[in-house]
């Protein structure tokens, strides 16, 4: 195995700053934020993220100059016997790529959020939460940086849990809002609990690794992996499969994807940063990072690949029938994560990472533009309400695409950037999504026709639901008064959108066919990545397929005028199938029936019969027994001195008799 030489460049010692710069921003905002106002809070948080990005750029430039693996030992953490776990940073092309994505896209989203949250906190009626949002946001960048810069599974796990915590905090950011005042809190709880299931898998994988390798550091484990795979293939298989469970939890794959759609309860920048661009890709990163383990067990690769491909298609079908603009994007994210997971399962690590990067660009763009649309609609709604003197106090959902339409003319910038993002996601050449998705499709064709069929079907549906979304939101005539009065968002929102749109459009340049910049860059970290030559047939075929899907979407949703109350044009031809799609294949209901309800029943059985009756019965019974015994015994104390004397006399006589006759 070709291990890259250690990098001795002094720039490596900068790497802790990717973690500590967000920490500084967080602390400043925590201490001073309330006093210094929103502008200050937003600026500090954005600068902290930007500064971390700057550090990542310096590291990238260093690595470009002299490729290798840089390591930086910050502190000793746990030292027990032979166990020596420290906080070590790892600077290689893979971790720096992730740092660039996290901090780069993260900075843009921070800047966007300074404006978005300004409206959002006012719309929700609690401006004092502005600071809290950015504290959480910087905390997220911090945790994500710990995750990607870790040099051992332990530190990776610290970051892994940290991002999970931030996800929970930010999904439940408006914890008292949502349906019944509990929907947001429930969504946050669901995300947390489902992620625990995945984390359980990752923890078991770590325990097994430690038990067999006596170490958690990447290099030590990977160096011994081939030997162990020879000696005990079952162990490596178990490790990789448990890790897959962790991946399924964090990256929202089958069967643990259910938390991600609900996570859209968080503010839109959260959806963009955490639940589209960065955190959910941690699973893909984990598999890529653990590639030396996965390369030893083809069965685990197969499992990863199938999970990814099935998720890609499954989530894409659900996205077709959703009406909430963010829900469509959420299922689309799950589907695209499925592409990435399938790619890393096929050992096409570079293709997976490439799609991770381009997806971070265009999905962040789509979410942020959707946020801009929602803001525009909220403004339009507020405006039209003032005009009507608040007559129609019906519940208006600014995220429902049926209430939109015709925004193309009113929100020009948002429309154009959304279009770029949607086309990139649909895989239209020459936007970024085309190149990355095609690499995955080509690798799938090379590996297994069944996987290729699943992925190409998912790609077709992707183009279709994005076409449907764009036609519903931006074309036709406005279907509500709010949409009629929608206004374009301010520059702080549109400028990050334009930058992200540029990245989405040009991101494909990172790994152009024949040049393969990203691949040469990553080959220092991922030596055994499957590389498939650019396949012109696949490329042209997938673009034609995507165009067909978009044309179909236009024929269904763009050609005719629709009213907000009209049923979906797909409802009639698809019938029951459409209802299944609309209800997300009843997966939530299935889990409710199979897992949640039996679990509740078990819990209430344990708390009722077992605890209240059984265990409390024993405890209370002991108390009652003592009470009863004491009540009986105290009757002996009659209070009559002469009785006592008689007893004493008998006692003395008995003792004397005993002494006398013994």
């Amino acid at each position: 195995m070709l291990l890259s030489e250690t990098l001795q460049n002094p720039a490596v010692s900068l790497v802790p700053w990717v973690v500590f710069l967000p920490l500084i921003g967080l602390v400043i905002n925590l201490v001073l934020g309330q006093r210094l106002g929103e502008k200050f809070v937003g600026a500090v948080a954005s600068l902290a993220a930007l500064a971390a990005f700057g550090v990542a750029v310096v590291l990238a430039v260093t690595l470009a100059g002299e490729p290798g693996v840089g390591k930086f030992h910050l502190l000793d953490w746990i030292q027990v016997g032979g166990l020596n776990l420290g906080w070590d940073f790892r600077v290689d092309t893979l971790s720096v790529t992730m740092m660039l994505v996290v901090a780069g896209v993260g900075s843009l989203i921070h800047i966007y959020a300074t404006a978005y949250m300004h409206s959002d906190v006012r719309h929700n009626g609690d401006p004092s939460r502005y600071r809290r949002f950015f504290v959480y946001f910087n905390l997220f960048i911090l945790a994500m940086m710990i995750l990607v810069s870790a040099d051992s599974y332990l530190m990776l796990f610290v970051g892994w849990e940290g991002v999970g915590l931030c996800s929970y905090l930010l999904i439940g950011f408006w914890f008292e809002k949502g349906a019944d005042g509990t929907a947001n809190a429930k969504a946050a709880k669901k995300a947390f609990v489902v992620n625990r299931v995945g984390d359980f898998g990752l923890l078991l994988a770590m325990f097994l690794l430690f038990w067999n390798f006596k170490s958690l550091s990447f290099d030590e484990i990977f160096a011994q992996a081939p030997a162990l795979a020879q000696a005990a293939p079952g162990v490596v298989l178990a490790v990789t499969l448990f890790m897959l469970l962790g991946v399924a939890g964090k990256s929202a794959q089958l069967p643990l994807f259910v938390w991600l759609p609900d996570a859209m309860a968080g503010p839109t920048p959260v959806s963009a940063l955490i639940h589209a661009a960065t955190m959910v890709t941690a699973g893909v990163y984990l598999v890529a990072r653990s590639s030396p383990l996965y390369l030893e067990v083809p069965a685990a690769q197969q499992a990863v690949m199938w999970v990814g491909a099935l998720t890609a298609l499954f989530a894409a079908t659900i996205a077709v029938a959703q009406n909430d603009i963010k829900k469509v994007l959420a299922y689309s994210t799950i589907s695209q994560l499925g592409f990435m997971v399938a790619a890393v399962g096929m050992t096409a690590y570079v293709a997976g990472m490439f799609h991770l990067i381009t997806h971070a660009f265009f999905k962040a763009l789509l979410f942020l533009s959707a946020g801009s649309v929602i803001l525009g609609l909220e403004h339009g709604h507020a405006h039209s309400h003032n005009g009507h003197n608040g007559h129609e106090e019906d519940h208006f959902d600014p995220q429902d695409m049926r209430n939109m339409g015709g925004l193309q003319g009113r929100m020009k910038t948002t429309f154009w950037v959304y279009l770029i993002g949607a086309l990139a996601l649909a895989g239209i050449a020459p936007l970024s999504g085309f190149f990355s998705k095609d690499e995955i499709l080509a690798a799938a064709l090379h590996t297994s026709p069944a996987i290729f069929a699943l992925l190409i079907a998912a790609a077709f549906l992707t183009a279709f639901y994005m076409g449907r979304q764009v036609f519903l939101v931006f074309f036709g005539r406005p279907r509500s008064t709010a949409a009629e009065h929608a206004v374009e968002s301010p520059a702080l929102i549109t400028v990050p959108l334009i930058l992200l749109a540029l990245l989405s459009a040009l991101g494909g340049a990172l790994n152009l066919p024949k040049i393969y910049t990203l691949e040469h860059w990553l080959e220092h970290s991922l030596q055994h990545s499957l590389v498939v030559e650019f396949n012109l047939t696949v490329a042209v075929g997938s673009v034609l397929l995507a165009l067909t899907a978009i044309a179909l979407a236009w024929w269904l949703y763009g050609k005719r005028q629709m009213r907000a109350s009209d049923p979906d044009p797909l409802a009639a031809p698809l019938g029951g199938l459409f209802r299944a799609l609309q209800n997300k294949w009843w997966v939530d209901e299935l889990y409710q029936a199979v897992i949640v309800r039996p679990y509740h029943a078990l819990a209430s059985w344990l708390s009722g019969p077992v605890d209240s009756t059984g265990i409390d019965g024993i405890a209370n019974g002991l108390g009652q027994l003592t009470h009863w015994a004491a009540g009986s015994l105290r009757r002996i104390q009659t209070g009559y001195v002469r009785t006592y004397v008689l007893v004493v006399l008998f006692g003395v006589v008995l003792m004397l008799a005993f002494l006398a006759f013994n």
Binding site: Q637, T638, G639, V645
Partner: protein, 99 residues
Amino acid sequence: MPLGYYLALSAVMFVIGIVGVLVRRNALIVFMSLELMFNAANLLFVTFAAYYGTIIGQISVFFVMTVAAAEVAVGLALMVAIFRTKHSIDVDQMSSLKG
């Protein structure tokens, strides 16, 4: 006089004392009965002291008399105190501490 007479007298005095404590309710009589039991014991002490020609028994008697005197002082004081609150020295009425 044979030893048996002394022992019989002591036993009779002791039994009278016990019966007195058990059947009488007047605290003063109870006290007197107690004293009778003390003195039955004292009689035994001096009897055996004379019989064996030692002095230990006689010394013990002095101890018993001293302790009994102290006990009577405390006991009578208690009885005065009880009589002041209850206007009676019937021992059966002193049962407020019964379980």
